[in-house]
């Protein structure tokens, strides 16, 4: 159980976030939606430690936690997949999965150990890549996204944040990535997905949290809500 309470963040005169609340729990996919400038990115940056909130509190199981930098977020078990994926295109899948946390014995890479773990991780997520020894540059967009998501799981997190995971993907690859997100939920992870695509949001999320102009503008059980109601909340039209 993770909660953000009354989080506010100003950039100069702009109030990017104004007393926003957010609850996340294990085994649940929460979609964070809103128009451009609604504060979605700022909110995930606060949770992932990329920026620090001016006001507000972050809680894990009811206990206040401090997240001042990405490293702290990671050690708290919060893993973020950025929209740009942050993959090294020249390294192979294994190299990317363990980037920065390579298994080693005295500074020598434990290649076999890493390859075994990589295969186990990918097959547990049902990610199929024919040859994981090829550079990531050779993979399709969906496969790259899958590698980036799989990498987020290497540190055994309990919360995974996905920033626009289906942007720039084709229909088939989007379906693959949405499948993968469901599998994260089935593993008992808390998942926070930012998306512009309401069809994807409906397909994958249990709960939809709407931000508008930096404020909470509605929270819905996705299955019980019509797309129109969500769009109305996003645009601020009277619902």
């Amino acid at each position: 159980m993770f909660a953000a309470r009354g989080v506010s963040k100003r950039y100069g005169a702009v109030r990017a976030l104004d007393a926003v609340d957010l609850d996340l729990s294990a085994g649940e996919v929460v979609a964070l939606v809103g128009d451009n400038g609604a504060g979605k990115s700022t909110l995930i940056k606060v949770i992932s430690g990329a920026v620090t909130a001016d006001e507000g509190r972050l809680e894990r199981d009811g206990v206040a936690v401090q997240i001042n930098n990405p490293h702290q977020a990671r050690s708290l078990g919060i893993s973020t997949v950025y929209q740009d994926l942050a993959l090294c295109e020249n390294l192979n899948v294994i190299g990317n999965l363990f980037l920065g946390s390579e298994r080693r014995r005295w500074s020598l890479l434990c290649k076999i150990d890493m390859e075994r773990s990589a295969r186990a991780l990918l097959s547990s997520l049902d990610v199929r890549i024919q040859d994981i020894q090829v550079p990531v540059a050779m993979l399709s967009g969906g496969q790259r996204q899958s590698v980036a998501i799989a990498r987020a799981l290497v540190g055994e997190p309990w919360l995974v944040i996905l920033d626009e995971p289906t942007a720039a993907l084709g229909v088939e690859q989007t379906a693959q990535v949405l499948d993968l997100i469901r599998r994260l939920r089935d593993r008992g992870l808390a998942v926070l997905v930012i998306s512009h695509n309401l069809a994807d949001v409906r397909a994958v999320s249990d709960r939809t949290v709407v931000l508008r102009l930096g404020r909470n503008a509605g929270e819905f059980r996705t299955a019980d809500t019509s797309p129109e109601a969500i769009v109305a909340a996003i645009t601020g039209a009277a619902a």
């Binding site: 390294l91 920065g100 500074s107 890479l109 290649k111 390859e115 199929r128 050779m138 399709s140 088939e172």
Partner: protein, 394 residues
């Protein structure tokens, strides 16, 4: 399942090709070398003689070592234009300490290499702390260290190294045949053992095994290649120590880059520095280390050049040394944009360039032609590499 439909679009041929970090790998360069051997060999029967090939082996080491250093920074996507000047300056300091001040050769070598390391540290700090582009930092180095070389050499302009001294003898030492064959046996043995061991470990870990034919083929190929080299060189004066030193440097750097965390991180930074930083890799420190290594290897290359010439003069490390060192790395398949290529590129590339130089000199062709031919080879090598990469990326 959608993924298996996806997988059909990845034919084995493509993945095979891409598993080599240099795009099409080193095959075009090897083909080029064979073409060079055929062309010059048919134009001049001297070219493929044991004596000339031995000379060629001697000519590789100095510029090849400098090229090896340049690869270190190229892998990060940076450039080192100062390597030639640094090699000249460090060789001059070596000569001054050894000859003018009469210190022991060992001390002189240590001081020269330490100077190279310090210069690299200065470059690295200017690049990472002052945020200057590496091109500018090392362009300043190119000019400045050249100036310092002229300054420390002073009026005389040339310092001769004693012919019977340790440093000059370095390039006039030849391995007796038994030692050469022992080295070949050791290399092949270690390669085969590690290949078999790796297969056994992979089998125990239930990982897919590469085909055994490929392993056998690789080891056999290695044995034949090394055997041929020793056979040819032993027909003349023997395997030059210089070649062994250069070869050892190439192999160790390759092993370090492929098997250590350091190497993995160098490639990661070259591929995507921002991703590396977010993954917690100490990008700044590694960049500095790469520049230090580059300049230290340049210093060592300068030392080898001085040993061959038995002198240091105002043109040490000057003229086309730097350009040939960069060209060798690129011809060998190192990407200028970072993250792609292996230290073997230095060996292959310098072999191509020196073969052309050597063959042209035998044919008494003017150096104007030599430069133009080298340029064509350089351009062709890069064109083949980038075309193949475009073909393999979707």
């Amino acid at each position: 399942m959608t993924t298996s439909a996806k997988a059909i679009r990845w034919p084995a041929r493509l993945t095979d090709r891409a598993s080599r970090p240099g795009g099409v790998g080193s095959w075009p360069v090897v083909g080029g070398l064979i073409a060079i051997a055929i062309v010059f060999g048919s134009l001049n029967e001297q070219f493929l003689s044991a004596e000339n090939l031995t000379n060629l082996a001697l000519q590789l080491a100095a510029t090849g070592t400098i090229s090896l250093g340049i690869i270190m920074v190229l892998l990060l996507g940076e450039i080192d234009l100062s390597a030639g000047s640094v090699s000249g300056l460090c060789a001059a300091v070596l000569a001054i300490v050894h000859v003018r001040h009469g210190q022991s050769a060992l001390l002189a070598v240590v001081i020269a290499l330490a100077l190279g390391a310090v210069i690299g540290l200065v470059h690295g700090l200017m690049f990472t702390q002052l945020r200057m582009p590496s091109f500018v930092v090392t362009l300043a180095g190119l000019i400045g260290w050249q100036g310092l070389l002229l300054y420390v050499l002073g009026r005389g302009g040339t310092i001769n190294l004693p012919f019977d001294g340790v440093i000059a003898r370095l390039s006039d030492t030849w391995l007796p045949p038994w030692a050469s064959w022992l080295i070949v046996v050791l290399i092949v043995g270690v390669t085969a053992t590690s290949g078999v061991l790796n297969r056994r470990l992979r089998r125990r870990a239930a990982l897919p095994l590469p085909s055994p034919h490929r392993l056998v083929l690789r080891i056999a190929g290695l044995a034949v290649l090394l055997g041929a080299v020793v056979l040819v060189l032993s027909a003349d004066r023997g395997v030059p120590l210089l070649l062994v030193i250069f070869g050892a440097l190439v192999v160790s750097l390759d092993l370090v880059l492929r098997n250590t965390v350091f190497g993995q991180w160098i490639y990661a930074i070259g591929g995507n520095a921002e991703a590396a930083r977010r993954a917690g890799i100490p990008v700044t420190r590694l960049r500095i280390v790469a520049f230090v290594l580059a300049s230290t290897l340049a210093a060592f290359g300068g030392l080898l050049a001085a040993s061959r010439l038995a002198a240091v003069n105002q043109s040490s490390g000057g003229s086309d040394t730097l350009l040939m060192a960069i060209a060798a790395a690129v011809i060998g398949g190192v990407s200028l944009f970072g993250g792609r290529g292996r230290p073997y590129a230095a060996l292959l590339g310098i072999l191509v360039i020196q073969s052309i130089t050597n063959g042209m000199l035998l044919l008494n062709v003017d150096s104007s032609i030599r430069f133009m031919v080298t340029a064509v080879v350089l351009a062709a090598a890069v064109a083949i590499d980038s075309l193949s990469r475009r073909g393999s990326e979707q």
